[in-house]
Amino acid sequence: MSKALLEIQNLHVRVEEKEILHGVDLAVGQDETHVLMGPNGTGKSTLGYAITGNPTYSVTGGSIIFNGEDITELPVNERAKKGIFLSFQNPLEVPGVTLSAFIRSALEQKTGDRLRLWDFKKKLKETMALLNMDESYAERDLNVGFSGGEKKKAEILQMLMLEPKLAILDETDSGLDVDAVRTVSEGVRLFRERTHGSLLIITHSTRILEALHVDAAHVMEEGVIVRNGGAELVDEINEKGFSSLKED
């Protein structure tokens, strides 16, 4: 593995009084694609939120090292500025703020500078075209009245515009039709190709992975990682399901 971008050691996470993650270890190198699989309700999304820094998910033990820096205590927005991005499973609707204005604000916060409007608009337009998104969405309120597919595309659009070092895709492919999965998958491939940012893809299907080269796969069950492997692990689970793992 190349130099580690993300290193998670013995991570324990609670929501209110309930511990969800019971000591997770995970390392993601630079310029790598990782897949995190596992049955529903085992804590995959919790891990995504914990890495991103959702205050509802409190880390009670262990550490998260990003780019050599301990970010376990860092606020969400500081982590985002350092290059962590989460594609939400259920992106929030924000009335009154357009998709375009939202991305612009995020970019301006990152650079601390005003953007050149012309350049920004141009890049936004191009990127939207790549994702087969109608231009009009740029001036619509963020996620308001978007279909499930459009919401997911808007997340991928944000990823491509913000160019994070690590993007966590939480069930980005769920609930999408075949065409939408293909478009999203193409967006993800472009992200890897252009920025060489790393990916942690949380999924329980494999449709989104078809266009991607997977470097490593991890299986989570009941709040711990139970298996680590390469791309072959994805195929194994595809064939036999998660129950096969129990016999190991």
Partner: protein
Amino acid sequence: MNDTILINRLPTRTWNRLGVNETAIAWGQADDLGEEKITAAGQTERLEITGSGERGEKTVDIHAPAGQTVTVFETLRAEKGLLVRTALHVEKDAKVRLVQIQNAAQDSLLRLETSGECAENGQVELIQVLLGRGDVYSDGQFELNGNGAGFTAGIGYLGQKQQTVDMNLVVNHWGQKTTSEINAAGALKDDAQKIFRGTIDFKKGSAGSVGSEQETVLMLGDGVVNKTVPLILCAEENVVGNHGATIGELDEDTLFYFESRGISAAEAENIMARAAIERLARTIEDEAAQAAILSELEEVL
């Protein structure tokens, strides 16, 4: 001479100690700023109403003849005290679109008295943009007389510093199958005080009517006071009325979403305070008015 007068009366009283039944303000003899009569159909009128002297009083009379649409933009420049009375007369199948944009001086007092009556299928679309400078008292009384008459209101406000934003909006459904929809959204900063009273009144005979009202208040300052009084009065069986209100800080989920994109809490609050106004500005679909609102917003915030 200053007298204390009572304005913005709630159509039916409730507990006095809540201080929402009416509002007392100081007002007196005002300069007559004249009357404007608008009947031109199918076009857009732009009025710049500027207060002069201690107090000024302006009357605007808007008449939409049968089947015609009239759009009026009022830019309200209160220097000290300004009262603008706008009366809408909407005939059968006609429509009036009234956009009121506050552009006031720091310590001004703006009073709006807006009223309207709609004949059969007559429609009123009211947009009020109240932008964080000076005190505002807005009273609206609308009568949906004819069958199928309709009313929509979009109200966006920003309250800051020691500002008072005091609103009262009453829609009376008289005709059958009349509709009303009130959306008010705003943000309060610093020590701003705001009252929104919204009343949907289904009179006997208004069968088949539908009314809804929704208010969203974003509380951003430690000294803010928000009062929300959404009334539904009903004397008719076959109607549907809804109201809802959401009051509070930026909710955790929204904040997390913003922060996960690297936007700080303070910036997120700023964006959301502007959002209510910007959103309303977009619905106006008039570039000049939009630009005016956005530049004013830039200046005020």
